[in-house]
């Protein structure tokens, strides 16, 4: 009996010790990275954003754009998001029109990030919970703790595409879907001024953001 118990105790103790060391040595986000690929995707985005915010002034808006562009292209499934935002009109578009909308939306999204994350004053990004969805998607719930200590809830909808997990929607305050907002906007602009009008509007807004206005 003793012979059986001793190794068991020893394993448990080792595991506890290892766990304790991991907790002490690894930051929260690293633990999240080990836990789940969707969580890891969001965690990487948070790290990149914090990094950009800390260097915001030196980089300037163009520098932030260049730094964030590859990160966002890897993090978000922007072509799919564009397609969902365009909705049923997508079928009627030519390949060139589709590509132009995806490019313009990608550029404006990146410009938005470069414009918004323009400084660092002690904000924190916390990952709270990852929820499995029935269709295989995951929702990663996070909080940005602002410099005044007030939290802003952000939830990410993450989907596996091929071998990769990518964000396809962001929910502000846990309730306001960015993709639903874009879908509403795209629908209105497509209706009033067609695909060319949509590309023009997206590019114009991207230009304004990059000009810092």
């Amino acid at each position: 009996m003793i012979g059986l118990k001793a190794p068991s105790f020893s394993r448990a103790a080792s595991a506890s010790f290892l766990g304790l060391m991991l907790c002490l040595s690894a930051p929260l986000n690293s633990l999240a990275q080990d836990a789940d690929p969707a969580t890891q995707r969001v965690s990487s985005l948070s790290d990149a954003l914090l990094d950009t915010m800390r260097q915001a002034k030196e980089l300037g808006i163009k520098g932030r754009y260049d730094k964030l562009a590859p990160v966002l292209a890897k993090t978000y499934d922007l072509p799919l998001m564009t397609r969902i935002a365009v909705g049923q009109s997508w079928d009627a578009l030519t390949q060139e029109q589709r590509q132009a909308i995806v490019s313009a939306f990608t550029r404006m999204t990146t410009a938005t990030y470069a414009s918004r994350f323009d400084g660092f004053s002690g904000e924190q990004f916390l990952i709270l919970q990852t929820l499995d969805q029935k269709n295989g998607d995951k929702i990663v719930k996070t909080q940005i703790i602002q410099s005044n200590g007030k939290p802003v809830a952000l939830s990410y909808l993450v989907r596996k595409t091929g071998n990769d997990w990518r964000i396809i929607d962001v929910y502000l305050n846990g309730t306001i879907s960015e993709l639903a907002n874009r879908r509403a906007e795209f629908g209105a602009v497509l209706k009033s001024s067609g695909a060319e009008g949509l590309v023009g509007s997206l590019n114009k807004q991207g230009d304004k953001l990059l000009a810092g206005s």
Binding site: L28, L31, A32, A35, D36, T39, L80, R83, I84, V86, G87, Q88, W90, D91, M108, T112, S115, R116, L126, I127, L128, Q129, T130, L131, D132, Q133, K134, N135, D137, I139, Q143, N148, A153, S155, L157, R159, T161, D169, Y171, L172, N173, G174, T175, I176, S177, L179, A180, N181, R183, A184, E185, G187, A188, V189, L198, S201, K204, Q205, K208, L209
Partner: protein, 324 residues
């Protein structure tokens, strides 16, 4: 224009709200938004509701039809869009000329703790009206939490200057007469942009008017009425209404900067935020919880998914639809 809106609201009310027949159908869930996200460490759990599912793999859909739960464009009831757009444009001109500069000066000159206290004080004065509406909606948990908040913040929080309740697991609750009317059965209401105040809808504008009027016999203090108006206008969906909260003017400017059609963008944001509050009320009201509130984690507080249009519902079988 406000008079027209009020007349429309009154005529809509003349039809009478339909009272829920299944009163006292079930116990009120005690979950709150903060309770749902209280876990401080990462954890993977099964969602109780498939609230944000998209069609299996959009890329492989044969008809190449992309769809999204919460197709906001088709859900917002905006029959007065032309007039609303025109009011919105005038509001934005006023915002750019007056409100944004004032808000900027306010933020730059008034220290943050003072600004927070102003907001807390205003919020605290409106808590009695929130409490009353939570009772009218039979949301016992929300009413008790609001009573607790008011008591704690009015005493320990030095007359409401400090929101100590939020730090003691008593987060701010929703509760206004527009929401009450919704719970009572007045579900669909036209979107409305009010001069200077901003976006709301006919039902909520009427609700706000009632809330403000109700404070007159209940003390008649001007700050109380102002606070009720500010709180309810804010609750009525104007997350970004600069006239109600100067500190939030920046959010509206950001929204404008990153939008290709700010009118539609604001309408979408307002609609989603308000719908989440209305859904939360339905799910936690003892009158309606039996029909709408079966999940321990509220779909409204977790992730709001407005109703799909009929065509798209077929494509997203597992999505949790809205209530309209």
């Amino acid at each position: 224009m406000a008079a027209v809106a009020l007349a429309a609201a009154l005529s809509a009310c003349a039809g009478g709200p339909s009272y829920a027949p299944d009163m006292l159908a079930s116990d009120e869930p005690v979950g709150t938004p903060s309770a749902a996200i209280a876990t401080a460490s990462p954890a993977t759990t099964e969602a109780t509701a498939d609230v944000a599912s998209l069609p299996g793999n959009v890329a492989s859909l044969p008809g190449d039809v992309t769809s999204l739960p919460g197709d906001e464009a088709s859900e917002v009831h905006d029959p007065m869009e032309k007039m609303n757009r025109s009011t919105f444009e005038r509001n934005q001109r006023f915002n750019r000329a007056v409100v944004y500069p004032v808000a900027k000066a306010y933020i730059n000159t008034v220290p943050e703790p003072v600004r927070n206290s102003v907001e807390n004080f205003t919020q605290n004065l409106s808590e009695p009206m929130t409490f009353a509406n939570d009772l009218l909606q039979l949301r016992v948990g929300a009413a008790v939490a609001t009573l607790g908040r008011f008591t704690l913040n009015s005493t320990v929080g030095v007359g409401g200057l400090f929101d100590v309740a939020s730090k003691h697991d008593l987060p701010e609750q929703s509760g206004d007469f527009g929401q009450t009317l919704y719970v009572w059965g007045m579900r669909k209401s036209p979107y409305l942009v009010v001069p200077l105040i901003g976006p709301t809808n006919v039902r909520d504008l009427f609700g706000t008017t009632v809330d403000v009027a109700a404070t007159i016999p209940a003390g008649g203090l001007l700050p109380t009425q102002y606070a009720t108006a500010v709180n309810n206008v804010s609750v009525a969906g104007t997350v970004t209404t600069p006239m109600s909260k100067l500190g939030e003017a920046d959010q509206l400017k950001q929204l404008e900067d990153t939008s290709i059609d700010p009118y539609i963008m604001l309408r979408s944001v307002v609609q989603q935020k308000r719908q989440a509050e209305l859904q939360e009320a339905l799910e936690t009201s003892a009158w309606t919880a039996g029909r709408y509130g079966t999940n321990s984690v509220s779909t409204a507080t977790l992730l709001k998914t407005p109703a799909l249009n009929t065509k798209e519902q077929d494509l997203v079988p597992d999505a949790v639809s809205g209530v309209q």
